[in-house]
């Protein structure tokens, strides 16, 4: 892909990024930060590509460390965000809605 096309995509993504969070309430700042944090864990893709192209052991080891770190970011980020939001939900409706929310004494 040529440079101008990438630049176009980047600039549009900036505006989308500004736009989607511009109206968020302060109540959700923490989950939103955590959610955005999870999304940049997608660097995992880059780490996988680098590890898959590694030709010597040293490169492979460093690349695999990157894979571990990126996975921790991605998986941990989404799990922790979901856990926060799980708590927001349960109580918006009657307790009848509660079963199925936090299984097996999660709280």
């Amino acid at each position: 892909m040529d440079g101008v096309a990438l630049l176009t995509i980047t600039v549009l993504a900036v505006f989308v990024g500004f736009e989607v969070v511009s109206k968020v309430t302060s109540t959700l700042h923490t989950p939103l930060m955590s959610g955005a944090n999870a999304i940049h864990g997608i660097i995992l893709i880059g780490a996988i590509i680098v590890a898959g192209q590694a030709e010597d052991t040293a490169t492979l080891v460093v690349a695999l460390i990157a894979v571990v770190l990126a996975t921790a970011n991605l998986v941990g980020g989404f799990v922790v965000t979901d856990r926060m939001l799980e708590m927001f939900r349960g109580r918006r409706k009657a307790p009848a809605d509660a079963p199925g929310v936090g299984e097996a004494g999660e709280r």
């Binding site: 900036v14 109206k23 302060s26 997608i42 660097i43 898959g52 492979l60 571990v68």
Partner: protein, 457 residues
């Protein structure tokens, strides 16, 4: 293996990118937030499957093992963490993401074709390293492995300038000639910069720095996408960079602070570097039994929870106190400051965890007019968010921060650990007001005593 041609790969990456946008969009409202997270994780999963099916990859067993290790470490930690420790966990995950981006850039250096690619590598390497070191230091501060106060020492400003110059020099060499030593040097300088960036930040400002470093990691990921020619990384990284910037500003605004003031304030002495010295001015303190009478015969009580409640793990006890008071026919609600807790919105999460009904939580704008008709405002482990200095003292570090106007209530009760000032380190005039009563002690212990006393009425 290559099962997908470039067109299909691009389409699937586009779907993933849309999932991420929908995830952020969904997180903007409590109703759709959880679905948003689900969509986002589905997008991430799709992207990982796509990369395996579209690129010629060696070492696949190793890669899968590394993914398993990463998940096995992160998922249980994320499941088990105490809600009060949420901010430092987010900092930790953010840091490792930045570290991963820096490593990817480092390994791509031998494949870099031209100076533009090396520029993107230099950027990723530096910002990733800043984010990694900064986040780890933030983690240490929030976990109280080190002081939470701003750390400033003589020569900090000079050192910062030197490090910035070194970063520019190493970056320039890397872009022009591309030697490996310049890359290593730039990474080390990045680590030092991250530490220097976070050291002077203290107290209540630390969470805002997490958000800023989150945006940094996003930018590093976007730049790594330019290095690898991967559009998804560019879009996702830019998205996080942009939304993280807005979020950082929104958080800072909720605290009446500017981002520049937070980062560089300590240099000028205008930061939250307040005193930690306990005041010895006279205050009116009282016993749990007396305060129970005050609460038990009121008509309207507003509870004002702060971080002290959370560290003492008193959320469940305050919920029980609420129930006991409501049983007596008293109208009870919670007034929630936007930055109560350690991050904006943190207190809502903490109280939700203790099964406090969502409807009892009243946000600041709606809570403030209600204080005039409130008999007792019970402030538990909060200080700065009710400090009238934010309105009355222009020179104060928290000046301009919107506060909960508990002073309008007929009686104010503070449950406090000691007379030490809050996070921002400024004395609270309200403590010395004639209508204020104090009960000293750990928030949970005090609440337990109060609860027993109310039940005994």
């Amino acid at each position: 293996m290559i099962l997908l041609d470039p067109t299909w790969t691009a389409v699937l990456y586009l779907v993933s990118a849309v999932c991420f946008i929908l995830a952020l969009k969904g997180l903007s409202s409590p109703k759709t937030a959880r679905r948003g997270t689900l969509i986002g994780s589905a997008g991430a999963f799709l992207a990982v499957v796509t990369v395996f099916l579209s690129s010629k990859l060696d070492n696949i067993p190793w890669i899968l093992a590394a993914i398993a290790v990463g998940s096995a470490i992160a998922a249980p930690v994320a499941r088990r963490v105490q809600m009060t420790q949420m901010p430092q966990l987010v900092a930790m995950f953010n840091g490792v993401g930045g570290g991963a981006a820096a490593l990817v850039a480092l390994l791509e250096l031998p494949h870099a074709g031209d100076a533009w690619v090396r520029l993107a590598i230099a950027f990723t390497l530096f910002i990733g390293a800043v984010s990694f070191a900064g986040s780890m230091l933030t983690f240490a501060k929030l976990q109280e492995l080190m002081t939470t106060r701003p750390v400033v020492f003589p020569g900090l400003a000079v050192l910062t300038v030197l490090v910035a110059t070194a970063a520019l020099a190493a970056g320039a060499v890397l872009v022009v000639a591309g030697p490996a030593w310049a890359a290593i040097a730039l990474a080390v300088i990045g680590l030092a910069s991250g530490i220097l960036l976070v050291l002077p930040v203290g107290g209540a400002d630390v969470p805002i720095v997490i958000s800023l470093l989150n945006a940094f990691t996003g930018l590093a990921v976007a730049a790594s996408g330019l290095v690898l020619g991967n559009v998804l990384l560019v879009v996702a990284g830019t998205l996080v960079g942009a939304s993280g910037t807005i979020l950082t500003r929104a958080m800072a605004a909720a605290m009446g602070r500017s981002v520049q003031g937070i980062l560089f304030g300590a240099f000028r002495g205008g930061s939250t570097a307040g005193s930690t010295v306990a005041s010895d001015r006279p205050v009116r303190s009282s016993s749990a039994a007396d305060i129970a009478v005050l609460l038990g015969y009121a008509q309207k009580v507003v509870l004002v929870p702060g971080y002290g409640l959370a560290v003492a793990q008193g959320q469940h006890t305050i919920a029980e106190l609420q129930a006991a008071l409501e049983e007596r026919g008293i109208e009870v609600s919670y007034a929630i400051h936007p930055v109560a807790g350690r991050m904006p919105g943190h207190m809502n999460v903490l109280l939700a965890e203790a099964d406090v009904p969502y409807e009892s939580l009243v946000e600041m704008d709606r809570a403030n007019p209600g204080f005039r008709t409130t008999d007792v405002a019970l402030v538990v482990g909060a200080n700065d968010v009710v400090n009238p200095a934010a309105k009355t003292t222009p020179g104060s570090p928290i000046h301009g921060m919107p506060i909960l106007e508990v002073g309008d209530a007929k009686q104010v009760v503070f449950l406090k650990r000691s007379m030490r000032p809050g996070f921002a380190g400024i004395e609270n005039e309200l403590l010395f007001d004639p209508k204020t009563t104090l009960l000293f002690g750990d928030a949970k212990a005090s609440l337990t005593e109060l609860l027993a006393a109310v039940k005994a009425l």
